[in-house]
């Protein structure tokens, strides 16, 4: 079966069952997935305009009366497809813990303080070249119950829409040089080291703002179509 979005590249994705991450054990299918041709349903996807995103939605440090505590950072990059083309006008959503490693979610019981000036949610629309930019604070590491002394490396959750419903990606952005990488089963669920390192942002001195904020670059590469035009298949 020739697929319009190549499947080979999805080998960069983690397996669905990864027992070191215990919650996968009961939440992954046991029967094989059914291979199917891509139809118009799979090859199209939601389109959202600038009305979706409000002016300060991409700055998580100005959403409350005061400034959040922590290390202010800029996170920016390009949304691209696997052929390296920028993906314009797509919605990028993010959410993260505060600088102490605490989420505002009602079920997060980690005994670290909440910050009344930080929700931890943001949105941006990529521009005509696929570029996006956020201002936020660096999230803290936090413990979780997966195994004894389990700690998540600091990360920012990203949710991205691409050209189609197939390009949909939810991932996590990590920070360079985190000592927790080798102990984290979620990070290590990605089998290929090069692919794993694509989830790690790079420190960007050139775009670090003097006297204001460090900058990290995180490019997001989504599934894309190969050269075959869709019109021949619809």
């Amino acid at each position: 079966m020739t697929l319009i979005y190549p499947l080979e590249s999805t080998k960069a994705y983690p397996p669905r069952l990864f027992p070191d991450y215990k919650s996968t054990v009961k939440r992954s299918p046991q029967k094989p997935l059914i291979l199917m041709p891509h139809t118009l349903s799979e090859l199209t996807g939601p389109v959202y305009g600038h009305e979706t995103v409000r002016p300060n939605d991409n700055d998580l440090t100005v959403q409350h009366a005061g400034e959040p505590l922590g290390e202010r950072i800029i996170v920016h990059g390009h949304v691209q497809d696997e052929d390296g083309r920028g993906v314009p006008n797509v919605l990028v959503e993010l959410w993260q813990a505060n600088s102490c490693g605490r989420y505002v979610h009602v079920r997060d019981q980690h005994p670290a303080p909440l910050d009344p000036n930080f929700t931890g949610a943001g949105r941006a629309l990529s521009d005509s070249t696929g570029y996006y930019r956020f201002v936020t604070i660096k999230p803290g590491a936090y413990p979780w119950g997966n195994h004894h002394n389990a700690w998540r490396p600091a990360h920012i959750h990203f949710s991205v829409f691409g050209h189609s419903f197939l390009s949909r990606l939810v991932t996590q952005m990590y920070f360079p040089g985190d000592p927790l990488f080798e102990f984290d089963p979620i990070f290590n669920s990605v089998p290929d080291e090069k692919a794993r390192m694509r989830m790690v942002s790079s420190f960007d001195l050139e775009n670090t703002k003097p006297e204001w904020a460090l900058c990290y670059r995180f490019n997001i590469v989504l599934r894309g179509r190969n050269a075959t035009p869709m019109e021949n298949h619809s």
Binding site: Y5, A12, Y13, P14, P15, R16, Y21, S23, T24, K26, R27, S28, P29, Q30, K31, L33, I34, L35, M36, P37, T39, L40, S41, L43, T44, G45, P46, V47, T52, E82, D83, L94, W95, A97, Y103, V104, H105, T119, A121, G122, R123, H157, S159, H163, S164, F165, L166, R168, L169, V170, T171, Q172, I186, V190, K194, A195, R198, V221, L222, S234
Partner: protein, 195 residues
């Protein structure tokens, strides 16, 4: 070629960012109600519950749907046929409640072409995200009152006959509600597609 950015789990704490639903200081851009005032077609509701391999509900799951309008048109310029009807966008998102339940208010989609140009049976695409899922699962929602079209559907035909039932939403109640449960694993496991 550039390697893909790997997928990672949505984790347990996505709600305040992706499905705040009035519970957090953040607004929703997507909801589980796809119906726009000007939409045409039959208004329906899809209700279901997500279960894990032990049959336990999955409260920290999120469902997204993507569908054509009642004429079978997608609200995406990549669909080069006639324009979609109205302001209908065809995309919805719902965070499961503590019982793992979800619901979507939408319209019954029309037929869209399949790989060989023949029409597919009416269907809605669904992506399932959850803590414990390193990447989303894709499934399709078909309708039990479309038996004839389902029988001719090229995608359903790829599914072993004894498992097709997991993809068919069952009309019940007041006639407007379809039931579609998702079993991630084990007995009655929902059919998921490699797409």
């Amino acid at each position: 070629m550039t390697g893909l950015t790997p997928s990672q789990t949505v984790g347990p704490f996505f709600a305040y960012g992706l499905t705040p639903n009035g519970e957090y200081q953040w607004n929703d851009v997507f909801t589980n109600n796809l119906i726009t005032p000007d939409v045409t077609g039959e208004q329906i509701r899809i209700e279901g519950q997500v279960f894990d391999g032990d049959g336990a509900p999955v409260p920290d799951s999120m469902l997204e749907i993507w569908q054509a309008d009642s004429q079978g048109r997608f609200a995406d310029p990549q669909d080069k046929r006639a324009l979609p009807n109205a302001a209908f966008k065809g995309f919805g998102r719902c965070g499961a409640n503590p019982k793992g339940e979800f619901a979507f208010d939408t319209i019954k989609p029309g037929q869209v072409p399949g790989p060989d140009g023949k029409l597919q049976a009416p269907h809605i695409l669904m992506a399932v995200f959850a803590r414990g899922m390193l990447l989303q699962l894709y499934t399709r929602i078909y309708f039990d009152d479309e038996a004839e079209r389902n029988a001719a559907d090229p995608v359903l035909a790829l599914v072993p006959a004894d498992r097709r039932d997991t993809l068919i939403a069952k009309r019940s109640g007041n006639g407007k509600v379809y039931r579609f449960d998702i079993r991630l694993q084990g007995e009655g496991e929902t059919v998921f597609f490699q797409v």
